[in-house]
Protein backbone atom coordinates (compact mmCIF):
# COMPACT_ATOMS: atom_id res chain seq x y z
CA UNK A 1 0.00 0.00 0.00
CA UNK A 2 1.32 3.43 -0.82
CA UNK A 3 1.94 5.78 2.07
CA UNK A 4 -0.04 9.04 2.22
CA UNK A 5 2.95 10.92 0.84
CA UNK A 6 3.20 8.47 -2.02
CA UNK A 7 -0.49 8.72 -2.76
CA UNK A 8 -0.16 12.47 -2.74
CA UNK A 9 2.70 12.34 -5.24
CA UNK A 10 0.83 9.83 -7.36
CA UNK A 11 -2.32 11.91 -7.57
CA UNK A 12 -0.33 15.02 -8.20
CA UNK A 13 1.62 13.32 -11.01
CA UNK A 14 -1.61 12.23 -12.57
CA UNK A 15 -3.12 15.66 -12.33
CA UNK A 16 -0.05 17.31 -13.78
CA UNK A 17 0.25 14.79 -16.62
CA UNK A 18 -3.42 14.95 -17.55
CA UNK A 19 -3.47 18.72 -17.68
CA UNK A 20 -0.19 18.82 -19.50
CA UNK A 21 -1.58 16.50 -22.17
CA UNK A 22 -4.94 18.20 -22.48
CA UNK A 23 -3.42 21.63 -22.54
CA UNK A 24 -0.94 20.86 -25.25
CA UNK A 25 -3.38 18.95 -27.44
CA UNK A 26 -5.07 21.86 -29.23
CA UNK A 27 -1.88 23.71 -30.10
CA UNK A 28 -0.24 20.43 -31.08
CA UNK A 29 -3.04 19.63 -33.52
CA UNK A 30 -3.04 23.12 -34.95
CA UNK A 31 0.70 23.25 -35.41
CA UNK A 32 0.86 19.70 -36.71
CA UNK A 33 -1.66 20.64 -39.35
CA UNK A 34 0.33 23.72 -40.22
CA UNK A 35 3.51 21.72 -40.59
CA UNK A 36 1.92 18.81 -42.43
CA UNK A 37 -0.34 20.60 -44.85
CA UNK A 38 1.15 23.97 -45.58
CA UNK A 39 4.43 25.29 -46.87
CA UNK A 40 5.66 28.68 -45.81
CA UNK A 41 9.01 30.37 -45.39
CA UNK A 42 10.49 29.36 -42.10
CA UNK A 43 8.67 26.06 -42.11
CA UNK A 44 11.79 24.05 -41.34
CA UNK A 45 12.90 26.60 -38.79
CA UNK A 46 9.63 26.46 -36.90
CA UNK A 47 9.78 22.70 -36.97
CA UNK A 48 13.29 22.82 -35.62
CA UNK A 49 12.37 25.22 -32.84
CA UNK A 50 9.50 23.02 -31.77
CA UNK A 51 11.86 20.12 -31.36
CA UNK A 52 14.20 22.02 -29.10
CA UNK A 53 12.60 20.85 -25.84
CA UNK A 54 13.80 17.44 -26.85
CA UNK A 55 17.37 18.50 -27.32
CA UNK A 56 17.88 20.93 -24.55
CA UNK A 57 18.27 19.18 -21.20
CA UNK A 58 15.11 19.59 -19.13
CA UNK A 59 17.01 21.41 -16.43
CA UNK A 60 17.77 24.17 -18.90
CA UNK A 61 14.15 24.32 -19.93
CA UNK A 62 13.20 24.58 -16.29
CA UNK A 63 15.70 27.34 -15.83
CA UNK A 64 14.39 29.27 -18.82
CA UNK A 65 10.86 28.81 -17.55
CA UNK A 66 11.97 30.12 -14.18
CA UNK A 67 13.46 33.16 -15.83
CA UNK A 68 10.51 33.90 -18.12
CA UNK A 69 7.46 32.54 -16.39
CA UNK A 70 8.64 32.66 -12.79
CA UNK A 71 7.18 35.11 -10.32
CA UNK A 72 9.69 37.75 -11.32
CA UNK A 73 9.87 36.84 -15.00
CA UNK A 74 8.12 39.01 -17.62
CA UNK A 75 5.73 36.23 -18.67
CA UNK A 76 5.00 35.34 -15.08
CA UNK A 77 4.22 38.93 -14.17
CA UNK A 78 1.98 39.23 -17.20
CA UNK A 79 0.05 36.07 -16.43
CA UNK A 80 -0.29 37.12 -12.82
CA UNK A 81 -1.56 40.60 -13.57
CA UNK A 82 -3.77 39.83 -16.55
CA UNK A 83 -5.16 36.41 -15.78
CA UNK A 84 -4.35 36.04 -12.12
CA UNK A 85 -2.52 32.83 -12.93
CA UNK A 86 0.59 31.95 -10.99
CA UNK A 87 2.78 29.30 -12.50
CA UNK A 88 5.80 29.63 -10.24
CA UNK A 89 5.86 26.90 -7.57
CA UNK A 90 2.37 25.64 -8.37
CA UNK A 91 1.19 22.42 -9.93
CA UNK A 92 -0.01 24.41 -12.91
CA UNK A 93 3.59 25.40 -13.45
CA UNK A 94 4.57 21.75 -13.25
CA UNK A 95 1.99 20.98 -15.92
CA UNK A 96 3.41 23.71 -18.12
CA UNK A 97 6.93 22.36 -17.69
CA UNK A 98 5.80 18.84 -18.52
CA UNK A 99 3.80 20.04 -21.49
CA UNK A 100 6.73 21.87 -22.97
CA UNK A 101 9.10 18.98 -22.51
CA UNK A 102 6.62 16.53 -24.01
CA UNK A 103 5.36 18.82 -26.77
CA UNK A 104 7.66 17.63 -29.57
CA UNK A 105 6.55 14.06 -29.01
CA UNK A 106 2.90 14.86 -29.31
CA UNK A 107 3.50 17.12 -32.26
CA UNK A 108 5.47 14.54 -34.20
CA UNK A 109 2.94 11.81 -33.68
CA UNK A 110 0.04 13.98 -34.77
CA UNK A 111 1.88 15.46 -37.69
CA UNK A 112 2.90 12.06 -38.94
CA UNK A 113 -0.65 10.82 -38.82
CA UNK A 114 -1.96 13.89 -40.62
CA UNK A 115 0.55 13.27 -43.35
CA UNK A 116 -0.73 9.73 -43.69
CA UNK A 117 -4.29 10.83 -44.37
CA UNK A 118 -5.16 10.75 -48.05
CA UNK A 119 -5.65 14.35 -49.10
CA UNK A 120 -8.09 13.17 -51.70
CA UNK A 121 -10.57 12.52 -48.93
CA UNK A 122 -10.31 16.14 -47.86
CA UNK A 123 -10.79 17.12 -51.49
CA UNK A 124 -13.93 15.01 -51.63
CA UNK A 125 -15.20 16.70 -48.47
CA UNK A 126 -14.59 20.10 -49.97
CA UNK A 127 -16.55 19.34 -53.11
CA UNK A 128 -19.34 18.34 -50.73
CA UNK A 129 -19.38 21.81 -49.23
CA UNK A 130 -16.97 21.52 -46.34
CA UNK A 131 -14.56 24.38 -45.88
CA UNK A 132 -10.94 23.57 -45.46
CA UNK A 133 -11.29 23.82 -41.67
CA UNK A 134 -14.51 21.84 -41.65
CA UNK A 135 -12.98 19.13 -43.82
CA UNK A 136 -10.12 18.94 -41.38
CA UNK A 137 -12.42 18.61 -38.39
CA UNK A 138 -14.86 16.16 -39.87
CA UNK A 139 -12.64 14.06 -42.06
CA UNK A 140 -8.99 14.38 -41.16
CA UNK A 141 -9.38 14.69 -37.42
CA UNK A 142 -11.43 11.51 -36.96
CA UNK A 143 -9.01 9.66 -39.18
CA UNK A 144 -6.02 10.72 -37.14
CA UNK A 145 -7.58 9.77 -33.83
CA UNK A 146 -5.16 6.85 -33.50
CA UNK A 147 -2.24 9.17 -34.15
CA UNK A 148 -3.58 11.72 -31.70
CA UNK A 149 -3.91 8.97 -29.15
CA UNK A 150 -0.37 7.90 -29.83
CA UNK A 151 0.74 11.46 -29.31
CA UNK A 152 -1.24 11.82 -26.13
CA UNK A 153 0.14 8.62 -24.70
CA UNK A 154 3.70 9.53 -25.54
CA UNK A 155 3.23 12.90 -24.03
CA UNK A 156 1.44 11.52 -20.99
CA UNK A 157 4.21 9.02 -20.41
CA UNK A 158 6.85 11.67 -20.85
CA UNK A 159 5.02 13.93 -18.43
CA UNK A 160 4.84 11.20 -15.83
CA UNK A 161 8.60 10.84 -16.04
CA UNK A 162 9.42 14.54 -16.18
CA UNK A 163 11.92 15.57 -13.56
CA UNK A 164 14.52 18.15 -14.53
CA UNK A 165 12.34 20.94 -15.85
CA UNK A 166 9.81 20.51 -13.10
CA UNK A 167 12.19 20.58 -10.16
CA UNK A 168 14.04 23.52 -11.63
CA UNK A 169 10.96 25.56 -12.44
CA UNK A 170 8.58 24.84 -9.58
CA UNK A 171 10.79 23.22 -6.96
CA UNK A 172 9.73 20.08 -5.14
CA UNK A 173 7.00 21.18 -2.78
CA UNK A 174 5.07 18.29 -1.24
CA UNK A 175 1.44 18.26 -2.31
CA UNK A 176 1.97 21.05 -4.78
CA UNK A 177 4.79 20.20 -7.13
CA UNK A 178 6.44 17.08 -5.77
CA UNK A 179 5.41 14.59 -8.41
CA UNK A 180 6.52 10.96 -8.39
CA UNK A 181 9.89 11.55 -10.06
CA UNK A 182 10.62 14.38 -7.65
CA UNK A 183 9.67 12.28 -4.66
CA UNK A 184 11.88 9.58 -6.11
CA UNK A 185 14.73 12.03 -6.31
CA UNK A 186 14.21 13.11 -2.73
CA UNK A 187 14.30 9.49 -1.67
CA UNK A 188 17.53 8.81 -3.50
CA UNK A 189 19.23 11.81 -1.97
CA UNK A 190 19.17 10.53 1.54
CA UNK A 191 21.21 7.58 2.69
CA UNK A 192 19.01 4.54 3.15
CA UNK A 193 16.31 5.95 0.91
CA UNK A 194 16.61 3.04 -1.55
CA UNK A 195 13.58 1.01 -0.41
CA UNK A 196 11.49 4.13 -0.60
CA UNK A 197 12.92 4.87 -4.05
CA UNK A 198 12.16 1.37 -5.22
CA UNK A 199 8.57 1.69 -4.07
CA UNK A 200 8.23 4.92 -6.00
CA UNK A 201 9.70 3.42 -9.13
CA UNK A 202 7.24 0.58 -8.90
CA UNK A 203 4.35 2.98 -8.47
CA UNK A 204 5.52 5.02 -11.47
CA UNK A 205 5.93 1.97 -13.61
CA UNK A 206 2.58 0.56 -12.60
CA UNK A 207 0.85 3.82 -13.38
CA UNK A 208 2.59 4.10 -16.71
CA UNK A 209 1.86 0.51 -17.65
CA UNK A 210 -1.81 0.97 -16.88
CA UNK A 211 -1.86 4.08 -19.02
CA UNK A 212 0.13 2.51 -21.85
CA UNK A 213 -1.67 -0.79 -22.02
CA UNK A 214 -5.00 0.94 -21.65
CA UNK A 215 -4.20 3.42 -24.34
CA UNK A 216 -2.97 0.70 -26.64
CA UNK A 217 -6.26 -1.04 -26.20
CA UNK A 218 -8.12 2.18 -26.78
CA UNK A 219 -6.01 3.02 -29.79
CA UNK A 220 -6.70 -0.35 -31.31
CA UNK A 221 -10.38 0.14 -30.81
CA UNK A 222 -10.21 3.57 -32.34
CA UNK A 223 -8.06 2.47 -35.21
CA UNK A 224 -10.50 -0.28 -35.82
CA UNK A 225 -13.27 2.26 -35.70
CA UNK A 226 -11.55 4.82 -37.84
CA UNK A 227 -10.68 2.31 -40.49
CA UNK A 228 -14.15 0.98 -40.78
CA UNK A 229 -14.70 -1.90 -38.42
CA UNK A 230 -18.28 -2.69 -37.53
Amino acid sequence: MPTPAETEALLLSLRVAVWSVLGSLPPAIAIAWLLARTRFPGHALLNGLLHLPLVVPPVVIGYLLLVFLGRRGPGGVFLENVFGITLGFTWQGAAVASAIVAFPLMLRAIRQSIEAVDRRLEQAARTLGASSANAFCTVTLPLIVPGVFAGMVLSFARSLGEFGATITFVSSIPGETRTLPLALYAATQVPGGEPQATRLVIISVALAMIALVGSEWLARRTRHYASGGP
Binding site: D118, R120, L121, Q123, A124, A125, R126, T127, L128, G129, A130, S131, S132, N134, A135, T138, V139, P142, L143, Y225, A226, S227, G228, G229, P230
Partner: protein
Protein backbone atom coordinates in the same frame (compact mmCIF):
# COMPACT_ATOMS: atom_id res chain seq x y z
CA UNK B 1 -23.46 28.24 -70.18
CA UNK B 2 -20.33 26.67 -68.80
CA UNK B 3 -17.25 28.28 -70.15
CA UNK B 4 -13.99 26.45 -69.69
CA UNK B 5 -10.67 27.68 -70.98
CA UNK B 6 -7.45 26.91 -69.24
CA UNK B 7 -3.97 25.64 -69.73
CA UNK B 8 -2.11 23.59 -67.20
CA UNK B 9 1.06 21.60 -67.03
CA UNK B 10 1.59 18.64 -64.73
CA UNK B 11 4.83 16.77 -65.04
CA UNK B 12 5.38 15.84 -68.67
CA UNK B 13 1.72 16.25 -69.48
CA UNK B 14 0.23 19.53 -70.55
CA UNK B 15 -3.37 20.45 -71.11
CA UNK B 16 -4.85 23.22 -73.17
CA UNK B 17 -8.58 22.95 -72.79
CA UNK B 18 -11.18 25.18 -74.36
CA UNK B 19 -14.85 24.31 -74.43
CA UNK B 20 -18.26 25.83 -74.00
CA UNK B 21 -20.95 23.62 -72.58
CA UNK B 22 -24.66 24.34 -72.30
CA UNK B 23 -25.92 25.38 -68.88
CA UNK B 24 -28.29 22.46 -68.66
CA UNK B 25 -28.43 18.88 -69.81
CA UNK B 26 -25.61 16.41 -69.81
CA UNK B 27 -22.28 16.85 -71.48
CA UNK B 28 -20.39 13.68 -72.13
CA UNK B 29 -16.63 13.98 -71.82
CA UNK B 30 -15.09 11.22 -73.80
CA UNK B 31 -11.49 10.29 -74.51
CA UNK B 32 -8.89 7.59 -74.25
CA UNK B 33 -7.13 6.67 -71.06
CA UNK B 34 -4.71 9.40 -70.07
CA UNK B 35 -6.32 12.02 -72.28
CA UNK B 36 -6.69 14.31 -69.29
CA UNK B 37 -10.37 13.93 -68.50
CA UNK B 38 -9.96 13.54 -64.74
CA UNK B 39 -7.62 16.48 -64.69
CA UNK B 40 -10.22 18.66 -66.38
CA UNK B 41 -12.74 17.56 -63.79
CA UNK B 42 -10.36 18.46 -60.97
CA UNK B 43 -9.74 21.87 -62.48
CA UNK B 44 -13.44 22.62 -62.83
CA UNK B 45 -14.11 21.46 -59.27
CA UNK B 46 -11.33 23.70 -57.99
CA UNK B 47 -9.13 20.89 -56.73
CA UNK B 48 -6.38 21.74 -59.18
CA UNK B 49 -5.53 25.34 -59.80
CA UNK B 50 -4.58 25.61 -63.43
CA UNK B 51 -1.63 27.65 -64.60
CA UNK B 52 -3.93 30.10 -66.33
CA UNK B 53 -7.33 30.58 -67.87
CA UNK B 54 -10.93 31.25 -66.95
CA UNK B 55 -13.75 29.03 -65.80
CA UNK B 56 -17.30 30.28 -65.48
CA UNK B 57 -20.50 28.42 -64.70
CA UNK B 58 -23.41 30.57 -65.77
CA UNK B 59 -22.85 34.01 -64.30
CA UNK B 60 -20.44 32.78 -61.69
CA UNK B 61 -16.79 33.08 -62.47
CA UNK B 62 -15.11 30.25 -60.60
CA UNK B 63 -11.62 30.93 -61.76
CA UNK B 64 -9.98 33.73 -63.66
CA UNK B 65 -6.22 33.94 -63.57
CA UNK B 66 -6.29 37.37 -65.19
CA UNK B 67 -8.46 38.81 -62.42
CA UNK B 68 -6.98 36.68 -59.67
CA UNK B 69 -10.29 34.93 -58.97
CA UNK B 70 -10.22 31.39 -57.63
CA UNK B 71 -13.35 30.32 -55.78
CA UNK B 72 -12.74 27.68 -53.11
CA UNK B 73 -13.95 24.19 -54.01
CA UNK B 74 -16.58 24.13 -51.28
CA UNK B 75 -18.14 27.31 -52.61
CA UNK B 76 -18.42 26.11 -56.18
CA UNK B 77 -21.42 23.86 -55.47
CA UNK B 78 -20.06 21.21 -57.75
CA UNK B 79 -20.99 17.64 -56.98
CA UNK B 80 -18.12 15.39 -57.93
CA UNK B 81 -18.22 11.63 -58.18
CA UNK B 82 -14.61 10.54 -58.39
CA UNK B 83 -13.09 7.74 -60.37
CA UNK B 84 -12.24 6.07 -57.06
CA UNK B 85 -15.07 6.30 -54.58
CA UNK B 86 -13.22 8.32 -51.91
CA UNK B 87 -15.68 7.41 -49.21
CA UNK B 88 -14.93 8.56 -45.71
CA UNK B 89 -13.64 5.45 -43.98
CA UNK B 90 -14.59 6.58 -40.49
CA UNK B 91 -18.24 7.04 -41.28
CA UNK B 92 -20.85 4.50 -42.14
CA UNK B 93 -22.71 4.66 -45.40
CA UNK B 94 -25.54 6.75 -44.00
CA UNK B 95 -23.23 9.39 -42.64
CA UNK B 96 -21.29 9.48 -45.88
CA UNK B 97 -24.52 10.09 -47.73
CA UNK B 98 -25.55 12.83 -45.35
CA UNK B 99 -22.20 14.57 -45.43
CA UNK B 100 -22.93 16.91 -48.31
CA UNK B 101 -26.65 17.15 -47.62
CA UNK B 102 -25.99 18.45 -44.14
CA UNK B 103 -23.57 21.07 -45.32
CA UNK B 104 -25.47 22.28 -48.32
CA UNK B 105 -28.83 22.20 -46.59
CA UNK B 106 -30.20 20.42 -49.60
CA UNK B 107 -32.01 17.14 -50.08
CA UNK B 108 -34.63 16.52 -47.42
CA UNK B 109 -35.53 13.12 -46.01
CA UNK B 110 -37.59 12.35 -49.08
CA UNK B 111 -34.63 12.87 -51.34
CA UNK B 112 -32.52 10.73 -49.06
CA UNK B 113 -34.90 7.79 -49.20
CA UNK B 114 -35.31 8.21 -52.91
CA UNK B 115 -31.60 8.12 -53.62
CA UNK B 116 -31.10 5.22 -51.22
CA UNK B 117 -33.84 3.25 -52.90
CA UNK B 118 -32.65 3.98 -56.34
CA UNK B 119 -29.07 2.99 -55.74
CA UNK B 120 -30.06 -0.05 -53.72
CA UNK B 121 -28.25 1.29 -50.68
CA UNK B 122 -30.83 0.28 -48.10
CA UNK B 123 -28.98 -2.83 -46.89
CA UNK B 124 -25.70 -0.94 -46.75
CA UNK B 125 -26.81 2.09 -44.75
CA UNK B 126 -25.32 1.01 -41.46
CA UNK B 127 -22.27 -0.63 -42.95
CA UNK B 128 -18.79 0.76 -42.62
CA UNK B 129 -17.33 1.73 -45.93
CA UNK B 130 -14.09 -0.16 -45.83
CA UNK B 131 -15.33 -3.56 -46.81
CA UNK B 132 -17.81 -2.46 -49.41
CA UNK B 133 -17.09 -4.04 -52.74
CA UNK B 134 -15.95 -1.75 -55.54
CA UNK B 135 -19.43 -1.46 -56.93
CA UNK B 136 -21.08 -0.87 -53.61
CA UNK B 137 -18.63 1.87 -52.78
CA UNK B 138 -19.21 3.64 -56.05
CA UNK B 139 -22.96 3.56 -55.60
CA UNK B 140 -22.53 5.24 -52.24
CA UNK B 141 -20.27 7.86 -53.77
CA UNK B 142 -22.87 8.63 -56.41
CA UNK B 143 -25.54 8.92 -53.77
CA UNK B 144 -23.36 11.20 -51.69
CA UNK B 145 -22.80 13.60 -54.57
CA UNK B 146 -26.45 13.51 -55.60
CA UNK B 147 -27.48 14.48 -52.09
CA UNK B 148 -25.12 17.43 -51.86
CA UNK B 149 -27.49 19.63 -53.86
CA UNK B 150 -24.99 20.64 -56.52
CA UNK B 151 -25.37 23.20 -59.27
CA UNK B 152 -23.12 21.22 -61.54
CA UNK B 153 -22.51 17.54 -61.28
CA UNK B 154 -19.26 16.03 -62.49
CA UNK B 155 -19.13 12.28 -62.74
CA UNK B 156 -15.82 10.65 -63.50
CA UNK B 157 -16.60 7.19 -64.82
CA UNK B 158 -19.09 6.58 -62.04
CA UNK B 159 -20.39 3.35 -63.49
CA UNK B 160 -17.20 1.73 -64.62
CA UNK B 161 -17.13 -0.59 -61.62
CA UNK B 162 -20.86 -1.39 -61.60
CA UNK B 163 -22.40 -4.44 -63.16
CA UNK B 164 -24.96 -4.15 -65.92
CA UNK B 165 -27.92 -4.53 -63.64
CA UNK B 166 -26.82 -1.77 -61.27
CA UNK B 167 -25.89 0.40 -64.22
CA UNK B 168 -29.34 0.01 -65.60
CA UNK B 169 -30.75 0.91 -62.21
CA UNK B 170 -28.65 4.01 -61.83
CA UNK B 171 -28.75 5.41 -65.33
CA UNK B 172 -32.42 6.44 -65.35
CA UNK B 173 -31.88 8.36 -62.16
CA UNK B 174 -28.99 10.21 -63.67
CA UNK B 175 -31.19 11.06 -66.64
CA UNK B 176 -33.98 12.33 -64.44
CA UNK B 177 -31.60 14.25 -62.32
CA UNK B 178 -30.27 16.18 -65.27
CA UNK B 179 -33.67 16.81 -66.81
CA UNK B 180 -35.85 17.39 -63.78
CA UNK B 181 -33.55 19.57 -61.74
CA UNK B 182 -31.94 21.42 -64.58
CA UNK B 183 -28.59 20.70 -63.00
CA UNK B 184 -26.02 20.54 -65.74
CA UNK B 185 -23.86 17.48 -65.63
CA UNK B 186 -20.45 16.63 -67.00
CA UNK B 187 -20.25 12.93 -67.47
CA UNK B 188 -16.85 11.36 -68.04
CA UNK B 189 -16.88 7.87 -69.43
CA UNK B 190 -15.27 5.34 -71.69
CA UNK B 191 -18.67 4.01 -72.64
CA UNK B 192 -20.33 5.39 -75.72
CA UNK B 193 -23.52 3.70 -74.57
CA UNK B 194 -23.61 5.81 -71.47
CA UNK B 195 -22.85 8.88 -73.53
CA UNK B 196 -25.66 8.10 -75.95
CA UNK B 197 -28.02 7.39 -73.15
CA UNK B 198 -27.26 10.47 -71.11
CA UNK B 199 -25.52 13.15 -73.05
CA UNK B 200 -27.01 16.00 -75.02
CA UNK B 201 -23.66 17.48 -75.62
CA UNK B 202 -20.39 15.75 -76.26
CA UNK B 203 -16.80 16.82 -75.80
CA UNK B 204 -14.02 14.56 -76.99
CA UNK B 205 -10.55 14.85 -75.55
CA UNK B 206 -7.22 13.58 -76.80
CA UNK B 207 -3.77 14.37 -75.46
CA UNK B 208 -4.87 17.11 -73.15
CA UNK B 209 -6.95 19.01 -75.69
CA UNK B 210 -10.61 19.08 -76.67
CA UNK B 211 -10.76 17.82 -80.25
CA UNK B 212 -14.53 18.06 -80.71
CA UNK B 213 -17.30 19.68 -78.73
CA UNK B 214 -20.93 20.30 -79.56
CA UNK B 215 -24.43 18.82 -79.63
CA UNK B 216 -24.19 15.07 -79.57
CA UNK B 217 -25.69 14.47 -83.02
CA UNK B 218 -23.25 16.89 -84.58
CA UNK B 219 -20.21 15.48 -82.88
CA UNK B 220 -21.18 11.88 -83.48
CA UNK B 221 -21.69 12.63 -87.16
CA UNK B 222 -18.27 14.20 -87.58
CA UNK B 223 -16.04 12.01 -89.69
CA UNK B 224 -12.86 13.47 -88.21
CA UNK B 225 -13.24 12.11 -84.69
CA UNK B 226 -11.70 8.67 -84.97
CA UNK B 227 -12.47 7.66 -81.44
CA UNK B 228 -16.18 7.77 -82.24
CA UNK B 229 -16.28 6.39 -85.76
CA UNK B 230 -14.18 3.35 -85.21
CA UNK B 231 -16.76 2.04 -82.87
CA UNK B 232 -19.15 -0.71 -83.66
CA UNK B 233 -21.93 1.11 -81.89
CA UNK B 234 -21.94 4.00 -84.33
CA UNK B 235 -25.46 5.02 -85.21
CA UNK B 236 -27.97 7.81 -85.49
CA UNK B 237 -30.71 9.30 -83.37
CA UNK B 238 -34.30 9.54 -84.67
CA UNK B 239 -36.77 12.04 -83.25
CA UNK B 240 -40.11 10.26 -82.92
CA UNK B 241 -43.48 10.59 -81.20
CA UNK B 242 -45.20 7.83 -79.26
CA UNK B 243 -48.20 6.86 -81.38
CA UNK B 244 -49.68 4.14 -79.21
CA UNK B 245 -49.13 1.04 -77.17
CA UNK B 246 -49.92 -2.64 -77.73
CA UNK B 247 -49.92 -3.87 -74.22
CA UNK B 248 -50.60 -7.52 -74.97
CA UNK B 249 -47.61 -7.65 -77.30
CA UNK B 250 -45.37 -5.51 -75.08
CA UNK B 251 -44.87 -3.21 -78.03
CA UNK B 252 -45.25 0.49 -78.67
CA UNK B 253 -45.65 2.26 -81.98
CA UNK B 254 -43.58 5.32 -82.72
CA UNK B 255 -44.18 7.71 -85.56
CA UNK B 256 -41.82 9.85 -87.45
CA UNK B 257 -42.92 11.46 -90.69
CA UNK B 258 -44.93 8.90 -92.61
CA UNK B 259 -43.40 5.99 -90.81
CA UNK B 260 -44.38 3.79 -87.94
CA UNK B 261 -41.90 1.80 -85.91
CA UNK B 262 -42.70 -1.02 -83.56
CA UNK B 263 -40.44 -1.07 -80.56
CA UNK B 264 -40.51 -2.71 -77.15
CA UNK B 265 -43.11 -1.14 -74.86
CA UNK B 266 -41.99 2.24 -73.57
CA UNK B 267 -43.32 3.95 -70.48
CA UNK B 268 -43.72 7.28 -72.23
CA UNK B 269 -47.37 8.29 -72.71
CA UNK B 270 -48.95 8.48 -76.10
CA UNK B 271 -48.08 11.71 -77.87
CA UNK B 272 -44.84 12.31 -76.06
CA UNK B 273 -41.62 12.79 -77.98
CA UNK B 274 -38.97 10.10 -77.87
CA UNK B 275 -35.48 10.03 -79.29
CA UNK B 276 -34.60 6.62 -80.63
CA UNK B 277 -31.15 5.34 -81.32
CA UNK B 278 -30.66 3.08 -84.30
CA UNK B 279 -27.28 1.41 -84.63
CA UNK B 280 -25.96 1.20 -88.17
CA UNK B 281 -25.10 -2.46 -87.60
CA UNK B 282 -28.76 -3.30 -86.93
CA UNK B 283 -30.08 -1.93 -90.18
CA UNK B 284 -30.44 -4.22 -93.24
CA UNK B 285 -31.34 -3.01 -96.69
CA UNK B 286 -33.62 -4.61 -99.27
CA UNK B 287 -34.80 -3.50 -102.67
CA UNK B 288 -38.19 -5.17 -102.06
CA UNK B 289 -40.14 -5.31 -98.83
CA UNK B 290 -39.60 -8.69 -97.16
CA UNK B 291 -42.38 -11.25 -97.10
CA UNK B 292 -43.32 -13.49 -94.18
CA UNK B 293 -40.40 -12.38 -92.07
CA UNK B 294 -39.99 -11.65 -88.42
CA UNK B 295 -38.71 -8.16 -89.24
CA UNK B 296 -41.51 -5.74 -88.44
CA UNK B 297 -39.95 -2.39 -89.18
CA UNK B 298 -39.64 -1.73 -92.86
CA UNK B 299 -38.89 1.87 -93.69
CA UNK B 300 -38.96 2.97 -97.33
CA UNK B 301 -36.39 5.62 -98.23
CA UNK B 302 -33.70 6.58 -100.64
CA UNK B 303 -29.97 6.39 -100.53
CA UNK B 304 -28.48 9.71 -99.58
CA UNK B 305 -24.83 8.79 -99.43
CA UNK B 306 -22.49 5.81 -99.37
CA UNK B 307 -19.42 6.00 -97.09
CA UNK B 308 -16.96 3.17 -97.62
CA UNK B 309 -15.01 2.14 -94.56
CA UNK B 310 -11.63 0.51 -94.50
CA UNK B 311 -12.80 -2.87 -93.29
CA UNK B 312 -14.90 -4.09 -96.21
CA UNK B 313 -18.00 -2.39 -94.87
CA UNK B 314 -19.87 0.59 -96.16
CA UNK B 315 -22.05 2.95 -94.19
CA UNK B 316 -25.14 3.86 -96.19
CA UNK B 317 -27.12 6.94 -95.22
CA UNK B 318 -30.80 6.47 -95.98
CA UNK B 319 -33.14 9.42 -96.10
CA UNK B 320 -36.44 8.25 -94.68
CA UNK B 321 -37.47 11.75 -93.71
CA UNK B 322 -34.79 11.55 -91.10
CA UNK B 323 -31.41 10.02 -91.74
CA UNK B 324 -30.84 6.39 -90.83
CA UNK B 325 -27.45 4.83 -91.24
CA UNK B 326 -26.98 1.20 -92.32
CA UNK B 327 -23.69 -0.64 -92.12
CA UNK B 328 -23.48 -3.50 -94.64
CA UNK B 329 -20.70 -5.35 -96.42
CA UNK B 330 -19.29 -3.87 -99.57
CA UNK B 331 -20.22 -7.05 -101.39
CA UNK B 332 -23.87 -6.58 -100.46
CA UNK B 333 -23.68 -2.97 -101.54
CA UNK B 334 -22.30 -4.11 -104.87
CA UNK B 335 -24.87 -6.92 -105.20
CA UNK B 336 -27.67 -4.41 -104.62
CA UNK B 337 -25.98 -1.89 -106.94
CA UNK B 338 -26.50 0.80 -104.37
CA UNK B 339 -26.14 4.35 -105.56
CA UNK B 340 -27.30 7.72 -104.35
CA UNK B 341 -30.99 8.29 -104.98
CA UNK B 342 -31.91 4.60 -105.15
CA UNK B 343 -35.24 3.73 -103.55
CA UNK B 344 -35.05 0.88 -101.07
CA UNK B 345 -36.22 -0.41 -97.71
CA UNK B 346 -34.39 -0.16 -94.41
CA UNK B 347 -35.18 -3.13 -92.16
CA UNK B 348 -34.83 -3.00 -88.39
CA UNK B 349 -35.84 -5.72 -85.94
CA UNK B 350 -37.89 -4.49 -83.04
CA UNK B 351 -35.63 -6.48 -80.79
CA UNK B 352 -32.77 -4.24 -81.82
CA UNK B 353 -34.37 -1.58 -79.68
CA UNK B 354 -34.65 -3.83 -76.68
CA UNK B 355 -31.65 -2.12 -75.26
CA UNK B 356 -32.34 0.18 -72.44
CA UNK B 357 -30.13 2.82 -73.88
CA UNK B 358 -31.91 2.92 -77.20
CA UNK B 359 -34.40 5.45 -75.87
CA UNK B 360 -33.85 8.94 -74.74
CA UNK B 361 -36.34 11.42 -73.53
CA UNK B 362 -36.42 14.80 -75.14
CA UNK B 363 -35.03 17.03 -72.46
CA UNK B 364 -35.59 20.77 -72.64
CA UNK B 365 -32.05 21.30 -73.69
CA UNK B 366 -32.23 18.80 -76.51
CA UNK B 367 -31.20 19.76 -79.98
Amino acid sequence: MIDIAFNHRQGAFSLDVRMQLPGNGVTGLFGTSGAGKSTVADVIAGLIRPDGGRIAIGERVQFDSARGVAVAPERRRIGYVFQEARLFPHMNVRTNLRFGARRRGGAGPGAFDQVVGLLGLEPLLDRRTRHLSGGEAQRVAIGRALLSDPELLIMDEPLSSLDQQRRDDVLPHLEHLAADTGIPMIYITHSIEEIIRLADHLAVMANGAVIACGPIQDVMARPDVPVLNDRRDAGTLLQTTVAGHFDEDHLSALRFGEHTLLVPRTERPKGSPLALRILARDVSLALEPPQRSSVMNVLPGRVQGIHPRGDGHVDVSIDTGQIIRARITRRSADDLSLRAGLHLYALVKSVAFAERDAFRRHAEGDH
